[in-house]
Symmetry: C2
Subunit: 301 residues, 2 copies
């Protein structure tokens, strides 16, 4: 049904600014706009600290701007919060922290006290400005190299720590609860890439989206997927660990293709494969082809 | 608690674009931005048709732009919808109708299938552009006349029809379910007003907000509050009926002050009072002062 709804929405969103609803953002002149939601029990755990939920709400939206090379200029908040109690005020305090940390002003929005028992339901509109090209998912061509900026899999391991399932380095929990959008990196790279998006639902599913939008296939070398030291210590670095990382989501790394040498970026950039003729994803490691896992990432909703 | 939260948010939203969170909209250069939410069971009835809820979501946000004289240029939708079923697709169809009717493109957003039993939770960001002054709530001065564009009370009567409490003209139900933002009227008036806002929570409570923001008192002549014929047929037009209309909310009329003659507006404009020194509201009718009702309007949340 989600796909049917999306098709229905795409039929409505015919303005070029909507980019066909295929691109995480809308583009109005030099403005880049995005609106992502977080719902309790769907996108975050009821036990997640409200300050962290607020941080994440801001971060995931700024990550969409980062993936388009845009500089955030403002946010508007739509927050359905529990009536009374301390959750709501801790959440708003977290918005204050994020606004300060990312240097982006809160300029408006709406708050509603939700009916009793209803999940916390959050939306945020982030507005950015770009003075250069605004990459889409659709520009990759056969022959382009495929890269990741940032690391993959930390947040997935952090989620299992948050759930109390496993133990691991606090940095991993932090990667899940307080992701950092790669704004400077996105800005540094945006003029040099052929396609770019942030890795929100999982490296593989997001790579498949670039492949589909661009009409090419992507070959991905599992061995080159950048895992942090903390992730390798907790989860290992064999094929299974790398497949888990590549399908876990919530990373907010940047995934992009380029046909030319890259400028220096403020964070680690790893080449993980290339675009070739065809469609879909092809995984391999040093020994040859690796079968695609059944689930490529998260499909919320 | 809502007031405490709002104070907490105001302490964060210190950028001038936020207008202190006192003004329904944010202003970024010539852009006017707003984000209002509608939550099932708070702002609309579970029995309201999903197409109408969609219409209303768009209309209430465009009404905020109208009250600032801005022309809508785009909307982004954040929709927490029931999984599966027909509600979600009827809702999206309603968004399509509204987008067409108001000529404003849907350019992005997010949809989430809500957990079972959770209320439908909707947010919409509307972006407008203004080529003139953008009135606030704070510009009224003693001596200004107070006006309403549009009619007051139709939607409140329509709500009682929707609830099955009373019978009345279908136009009244329509005013509740399908309000029409006064975009042309707002644009025609915005350069001539000293303060302007839309009447969303009730004429009296919204007038009190202008009075407070402007540091003046408003005198309102109950007899001059514009009621439609259908409203007078259903609810009468004595003081009680007029007080009910003035506190009912959901009207999306424009409430404004001006010190000069007004240009011609595309819809009915009624002078209902004036600004004087002091604070708060003073009601009167042809016989003299009328006591303020205890409740001035709706305070959601």
């Amino acid at each position: 049904v989600e796909l049917e709804l999306l098709a229905q929405l795409k039929a409505i969103a015919t303005d070029p600014a909507a980019r066909g609803l295929n691109d995480d953002v809308a583009v109005l002149g030099d403005l880049v706009l995005t609106h992502d939601m977080l719902v309790e029990g769907v996108h975050f755990l009821p036990s997640d600290p409200p300050e962290d939920v607020a941080w994440k709400l801001v971060a995931v939206n700024l990550s969409d701007l980062a993936s388009k090379g845009a500089t955030p200029i403002a946010i508007l908040l739509g927050a359905g919060l529990p009536r009374g109690g301390t959750w709501a005020s801790a959440f708003v305090a977290g918005i204050g922290l994020a606004v300060q940390a990312f240097g982006v002003p809160l300029i408006g929005g709406d708050t509603v006290a939700m009916p009793g028992g209803a999940p916390v339901t959050l939306g945020l509109t982030a507005i950015g400005r770009s003075d250069g090209p605004i990459p889409s998912r659709a520009g990759a061509a056969a022959g382009d190299a495929l890269y990741v900026a940032g690391v993959i899999g930390d947040a997935g391991l952090g989620l299992s720590i948050a759930k109390g399932e496993r133990a691991g380095h606090p940095d991993l929990l932090n990667a899940y609860r307080r992701p950092v959008p790669l704004i400077e990196t996105g800005r540094a790279l945006s003029a040099s890439v052929t396609a770019m998006m942030d890795v929100s639902d999982g490296l593989l599913i997001d790579a498949a989206r670039i492949a589909q939008a661009s009409g090419i296939a992507l070959e991905i070398d599992l061995d080159t997927i950048p895992l942090s030291k903390a992730a390798q210590m907790m989860g290992g670095n064999d094929d299974a660990a790398r497949l888990a990382a590549a399908t876990a989501g919530d990373d907010y790394a940047l995934l992009f293709t380029a046909s030319r040498p890259l400028p220096t970026a403020p964070c680690r950039v790893a080449r993980i494969g290339q675009a070739v003729r065809g469609e879909g994803l092809h995984l391999y490691n040093r020994d040859g082809p690796v079968a695609l896992p059944e689930r490529l990432g998260w499909l919320h909703g």
